[in-house]
Amino acid sequence: MSTDAIAPNLIPDMQPAATADLAATPFDDLDTIVAAYQQRIFRFLLASLREPDLAHTLTQETFLRAWTTRFAFRGECSIPTWLTRIALNLLRDHTRTNRFRFWRRVSSQAVDAAELAPLLVHPDSSLDSRLIASEQMTLVWDTVGTLSDRQRTIFLLRFVDEMELPEIATSTGLPLSTVKSHLYRALGIIRARHASSRKLQ
């Protein structure tokens, strides 16, 4: 994968004269950064928005912003954490400014869990286990849709991106204890849904 994937015409031309004085950053080699993290950022944004086109646009904007603000990166956190922070800011800005349009569009184009069920990879492909996995996935999918914005973000960073809790705290700018309590609550809701589905069965 190369920077072609993130629209080369969006990346401003480097001006050697202007940037010569400034220190080199890891983002100077944008090809490598994009190749390493673009798909990951896209996955997080897609899981958050559940809309591929929008997730793709925001992924491009994430790397564009990473490029334009590269001199602000001081290496205090890892590159994926920095990129996630940028993606989170863009996500928040987008849902804030276009909240009404966003939810209308999301509700009209929302991906149904049933559409994702066939995508489940099963090492054991017995019908029973496939059905159980599909039900479990649907339950979590539906529950994630009902979480608050912050809970959903933290949940996805942990259970989709598999970020460590301190990384999530850095990305979101929240204290570690707050991150933990959000995860406890989100998991509590999922447990409750599990319990109620068991009762129905």
Partner: protein, 166 residues
């Protein structure tokens, strides 16, 4: 048997930060172990589905982006002015013939106007005459058919005058 794991203890297990006692408890308590297994499997299934979906969508987006070789955002920014220009052009194209069509019959009415104007003076004259007549009839206190009764001697005066003449 000890009490079951609390929600926080179970969450710590899922988050990979268990205390030694929770691990010990899990070894002995099948109920908590089953609960943990269900939750872990659900989360794994969710992650797996999201991962595969994102992978597919990513490939789909890449093929779509490479075809026109233009990012979605720049397409949008380009498309909006173009769209509005097209709408404006369409409006002009629709309204212009309509406006021209409206103007064409109005020229015939303007040519007809002088005739209408020419007929106006006679009409106003007749109106004035009619009004004058009405005024006269109203101003006279006695209606014209009753006029001979107003002055009964008028007829005699006339008669005596004719007699004198004779």
């Amino acid at each position: 048997m000890n009490q079951h794991l609390t929600h926080e203890q179970l969450c710590d297990l899922i988050l990979g930060d268990p205390s030694p006692e929770t691990t010990d408890h899990l070894r002995d308590c099948h109920l908590c172990a089953a609960e943990l297994a269900t939750l872990t499997q659900s989360l794994a299934a969710f992650r797996s589905a999201t991962d595969v979906w994102a992978g597919r969508e990513w490939i789909h987006q890449q093929t779509r982006t490479r075809e026109p070789h233009r990012p979605a955002s720049s397409i949008k920014t380009f498309m909006f002015p173009a769209l509005w220009t097209a709408v404006a052009a369409l409006l002009v194209a629709v309204t212009l013939p309509l406006a021209l069509h409206h103007n064409a019959p109005s020229s015939t009415t303007t040519t007809a106007k002088p005739a209408a104007v020419a007929t106006q003076p006679s009409a106003t004259q007749s109106d004035e005459a009619l009004l004058e007549e009405i005024d006269q009839t109203l101003s006279s206190s006695i209606p014209s058919p009753m006029q001979p009764l107003n002055d009964p001697t008028a007829g005699r005066h006339n008669q005596s005058n004719t007699q004198r003449k004779n």
